[in-house]
Symmetry: C2
Subunit: 217 residues, 2 copies
């Protein structure tokens, strides 16, 4: 397990600090708002009330050996930029920052952030893609144009075994799971002898165009 | 393609409206702030300046046949609750709402929201999990305790073909892709004859404990 520091305990920061702590890590949580810090005391290793833009304060909490610092300090852009700059100068190797928009993200990159997070934008795009395609119950963008999607079983494969359906060879789709729509039971990494039934949903990995072609069979 | 209405054009709403439009859907974007609406005119089918809490206004924009309405109206909880209630009464079948926290989410569920989104919380948890486990370059929670993760190739499998490594039979892991760390090239749905080399990263689907066991070989 590792050691982390989370600066700014709003929605994003507080969930991040709690999750890191629950995963068994050492977590220092810091915010300038006393009541927010008090709420976190039971859920982290150390909770500190301080203004992160004071460089001497950052120096006093020994951040050299942390695995990462996560910054999410609200809508004042200059605060996150300043804090990122100081941490870079103190030698912190991984600086993760929540950005408000693309311009903010670019500046943070320049001053030393190693990873930029856009929670609203990322979730908005994913929500739009899932809503726009009713068959994508939930899709997971993997590499480039490959994705993981759920597709219904076409009529012509009803009653065929997974092995005989030759999904990889004939349709370029790798089957990850099969879900029975009625019972809701999901069979992950199914056996080749599994008989496909209409009403089941296949979770497949493949290119967007192969997924679309299969859906329109 | 479908028809959607997006109410509230902040960070989340504006990205959602644009993405839905880019995917070829009919999109009505609505906000009470005139300058925000003007910025969206080129990126949606119709942009309207209006206060969504006025029920007669919602009635005038013919929402009966939309596939979904997406609501993200900022930190005033009562606004999103009121708008959700009116849309439910107007017969809108899918109402997607961005919630501020779990309590807000519970109330929205009661008044008729069909899908609740917590962008900050979801992204915070995912960020913490990826940071906490350096080998999880990026993981994708699938069903229950199954996930998709990237793992390095252990010494004992160096030089073995994918087929002979019998990853599914001996380690309960399904290989989705193989990435060469040096060249950055990713081979999705690799051939069984692929020879595994140290320095390659395997993207696998499996249970958390099977992924951990494989990593500690
Ligand atoms: N200079 C600072 N030093 C320490 N903490 C700060 C400083 N400036 C702001 N903060 C804290 O950062 C937190 C920011 O939370 P806020 O909810 O505004 O934004 P966010 O976390 O970026 O967004 P969200 O809540 O949507 O995730 C607040 O708790 C605030 O007290
Ligand atoms: N009654 C209302 N009718 C129409 N629009 C509204 C109403 N109340 C708020 N809005 C609009 O909703 C938008 C809310 O954006 P805001 O950025 O505050 O929140 P958000 O979208 O939930 O958060 P984020 O920007 O982090 O995604 C604003 O553009 C605001 O004008």
């Amino acid at each position: 397990s590792g050691k982390f520091c989370v600066i700014g305990l709003g929605n994003f920061g507080s969930h991040c600090a709690r999750e890191l702590f629950e995963l068994g890590n050492d977590v220092i949580a810091l915010d300038k708002n006393r009541s927010v810090v008090n709420n976190m005391r039971d859920f982290v290793s150390q909770a500190i009330v301080a203004d992160a833009t004071k460089k001497d304060m950052l120096e006093s909490i020994e951040l050299e050996d942390v695995d990462a610092v996560i910054i999410s300090v609200g809508s004042n852009i200059s605060t996150s930029i300043l804090v990122t700059l100081y941490l870079k100068e103190l030698g912190v190797k991984e600086i993760v920052v929540k950005a408000l928009d693309d311009d903010h993200g670019r500046i943070l990159n320049q001053v030393g952030a190693t990873r930029i997070i856009f929670p609203e934008k990322d979730m908005a795009i994913k929500t739009a893609q899932v809503l726009s395609d009713p068959n994508l119950t939930d899709f997971i963008p993997l590499y480039g144009d490959y994705l993981v999607a759920e597709v219904p079983i076409p009529d012509q494969l009803d009653g065929t075994s997974l092995e005989d359906a030759r999904l990889k060879r004939d349709y370029s789709l790798q089957v990850l799971a099969i879900k029975d729509e009625n019972s809701g039971v999901t069979d992950i990494s199914p056996d080749p002898e599994h008989i496909l039934r209409k009403g089941e949903l296949l979770t497949v990995l493949g290119r967007q165009e192969d997924v679309d072609r299969f859906r329109n069979l």
